[in-house]
Symmetry: C2
Subunit: 525 residues, 2 copies
């Protein structure tokens, strides 16, 4: 997920817990590196049937790169064969007379063919153009070796000669990428599946998670590159089922707890460099996911010490969320981006947010029991109240669906989160999800993040076949459309959708999209 | 001077003299560094009366830089108060919310206001656009310090925020330049002059030379940055009268001699990095200037060892030039760029080149005498023949001027070089120059390089007042037009002249323009 200007900037005072930050620093992971060479040279072709209208096709074997002599205006695309996160280097030599002017070069990095085809200069989206991965650089001394200092997230890289001089051309060689990740592939729980599509979906999920695992769990290695709580929660779940890097989850929890605000609230996301900073974005659901992520962590590891130490922070998120309840006991709605839930522009956040509160409360109570905290009783009463209020105020018995906000909006998100929160008895919960699938409300999921919750809700109510179908259709759809890693955004009915106004800026390796590995393995799909 | 595509590329075999190259390497100078801060913030204003139509004016004191908060599309120009050659660094901090996207920044360096005003993207000249000094860079971590690895030649630098994000702006501070030169200011021969204009011209000449003195004598620190023989000869003369870095001249002579071709010919220019390479450009006059430069070096230093060792190379240039004489004993003319002389497009090179041969022969004979070489007699005869042929074939007694080429072109260059070569007896030589000044042929000097030879020719024939007037008008003209250092190109009648098609690419600190310090001091102007 990514910040936008519309997010409410809140002035707040951060209370640094130096012990928490010290513990997080101690847990900073080493990175695994691998030197990877391109698989082939590629070119992009316009193709209406391809994602965003562009397809990459084989141009030549990679061995032919060195023999290509490029002059002003000429370019070549190297295809690294799979998604890569790392550092690029290459060597370049002059061909012709001694170089009597510097080489001016543009390098364009792309996770998808569209990034190789559509000029970045045409970008006019809402997110900063500075996320578009390109470099313009000069090589003063030829032959020379260039090692780019920035990290890129890409499969394709275009080398474009902007200028040489009429007296020489250049050729490139030793092009390679030094990949980085804090995921240890040797530690992945082996997995196979009789269904080749689910096997592929699992493999790509694992790869997506791997490329997002860096100093912290990043949301996307191409863009944002930050630690978001909503993404962290899902990455942690996929991680327990695959790489089992529990220390990295612990680190991220301590980072969030290390910079809560004066009311004890954790931020929606953190900046890690040059120093730990809590972003001034606070989201109702994301703060609660601190509690949920701690719950999942404790379930996966049984690490009581961490639970003990972070419990006050986890409890506090629930207390603050409860303060938001109105007279009818429902989470107060607001015009601004007070809660995330999904990218859908018209989505009302009240009902799904209320469900997230119930979902988190339920888990907070189990944690309170584990640490023998006096909040158990109070939290139990509040949970019962919140559930009752949900049914009284948000349940539309005529439609048999939950409604949200003043406009009594019926959204997929509201039903999904109410199902995950298990507000209704088991049988009715299953009926709710069945009704959702049959009535198909207009306000539908727009992101893999929401589709994950849909799939898990189906599993929670026991609709496993429907969940399998969904995973195969949705994540399988990305796969069919050329995904090497799963995307930030994929709307099968509107494949060009970008909440930012351009598919160029979308992230095509995005943490919240990596959950099929968790769903498939955990629920035995 | 600078290579152009029209230069003839000649396939030739280089014979490396490892001893010469070793000696040159041993003489590689250390560089003097100084940390310089900008003098003020500036802005550029359109002004028809200013050079290239743009004037830089004070905008604010430099101390106000840090308080400027720049968002997307905003920029600031720092004025370093004088011409600088060196490395730029600055710090940048975010203002507003934590930076949720990289900072994308463009830096544009300019020796002249025009470079701050006219977008480089509009450049469409004949030289590579890669010489235009700009960088597009990303700062991923803020606050941050940026130290640019390339060397720039500039007075002005524009910092332009291409993108941040709607959540933050940036401010810059600690902007500075670490200058580099191999010229030791402490070693400059002190000089004063009662005429303030000549004093200023001398000062700017010295500064021009200083900024061109690096690992070698560069022709221009902004563009080309190479060791050209024609520039070296003039820089060496100015250097003897000012910085007295004789070792640097010696180094450059050994570099040229170290990579002559299989016939013993020295190249017009050398590339120094990543290794010594002789350019494939050979020019009749430039090769002869090796001999002349060795002569001047020996005159200035009395270094007999160097003379002895380099004499065979110096002699060889003369021998090769003599091979170019046709049946009438005149240097053979050609369509291509076989000899430089000046940038004038219509200039015929035959007569001035023949004069350069005579000029060089005369000095070669003195060197031959000094090393007691058997060539003395032969060279003496060839000199007499060349002088006689010049008078017989190139002297137009009706006009009282020398003519050049099949078209019998009357150019300033032909008269100037014939005067410098002292082909005519002393009194007639003075008459020749007087006639040149009064007849003003159309084919006039276009570069400071040619103007230098005009001034020195006036001094050689004893027209000192005319030489002083010329220096004050020509170099004083650049000064009046805002020169901090003297330029590669200045045509008072056509100030926008660029042989490359755009004043953006001209070099405004150019070695061949630094000679007034030599003329003023050596001839006591």
């Amino acid at each position: 997920m990514s910040n936008q200007a519309e997010f409410q900037a809140v002035r707040t005072t951060i209370v640094r817990n130096e012990r928490f930050i010290w513990i997080a620093d101690e847990l900073k992971p080493g990175l695994f590196s691998e030197e990877v060479e391109p698989a082939q040279l590629a070119r992009v072709e316009a193709d209406d049937t391809a994602m965003h209208g562009w397809r990459a096709v084989r141009d030549a074997e990679i061995g032919s790169l060195e023999s290509r002599e490029l002059g002003k205006g000429q370019s070549v695309i190297a295809d690294f064969g799979d998604h890569r996160v790392g550092y690029l280097s290459f060597e370049v030599r002059p061909v012709g007379s001694p170089p009597d002017a510097p080489l001016k070069l543009r390098m364009t990095f792309g996770e998808m063919p569209v990034e190789m085809a559509v000029p970045f200069a045409s970008y006019d989206g809402s997110l900063s153009s500075s996320w578009l991965q390109e470099e313009t650089l000069y090589v003063d001394v030829l032959p020379g070796k260039v090692s780019l200092p920035r990290r890129y997230s890409f499969r394709y890289v275009k080398l474009e000669v902007l200028d040489t001089s009429p007296k020489y051309r250049v050729s490139f060689f030793n092009l390679k990428c030094m990949t980085v990740t804090s995921a240890d592939r040797a530690n992945v729980i082996p997995f196979d599946h009789v269904d080749p599509l689910l096997r592929d979906i699992d493999r790509i999920s694992v790869r997506t998670l791997e490329d997002c695992m860096q100093d912290v769990f990043e949301d996307g290695p191409k863009r944002d590159r930050r630690l978001w709580l909503g993404d962290l929660r899902l990455q942690a779940l996929a991680n327990y089922a695959t790489f089992r890097n529990e220390a990295l989850v612990k680190r991220c929890l301590y980072l969030f707890a290390g910079v809560s605000d004066e009311r004890g609230r954790v931020s929606a996301n953190l900046f890690i460099a040059p120093e730990l900073i809590a972003d001034d974005t606070y989201l109702f659901d994301y703060s609660l996911f601190f509690t949920v992520t701690l719950y999942d962590y404790y379930e996966a590891t049984g690490d009581r010490d961490t639970l003990q130490e972070l419990w006050p922070t986890a409890r506090r998120q629930v207390e603050l969320a409860l303060e938001r309840l109105d007279d009818s006991g429902i989470v107060r709605d607001e015009e601004t981006w007070w809660s995330f839930i999904d990218w859908h522009e018209s989505l009302n956040k009240q009902a799904p947010s209320h469900a997230v509160l119930i979902y988190a409360l339920r888990r907070a109570i189990r944690l309170a029991e584990a640490v023998d905290c006096g909040s158990v009783g109070e939290f139990g009463r509040r949970l019962a109240d919140a559930e009752r209020a949900a049914v009284e105020s948000l349940w539309d018995s005529e439609q048999g669906l939950f409604v949200s906000g003043e406009g009594r909006q019926v959204s997929w998100a509201a039903q999904i989160w109410m199902a995950l929160a298990e507000v209704l008895p088991s049988e009715e919960n299953r009926t709710l999800m069945r009704r959702l699938l049959s009535t198909k409300p207009d306000i539908a999921p727009t992101t893999p993040y929401m589709y994950h919750h849909l799939a898990e809700a189906l599993l929670v109510v026991g609709l496993k076949d429907e969940a399998v179908d969904l995973v195969k259709q949705y994540w399988g759809g990305m796969l069919k459309n050329g995904a090497d890693t799963f995307w930030e955004l994929y709307d099968p009915g509107n494949p060009d959708f970008s909440p930012y106004g351009s598919p160029l800026i979308n992230s095509y390796c995005h943490a919240w999209s990596c959950t099929p590995a968790y769903l498939i393995r955990r629920y035995g799909l």
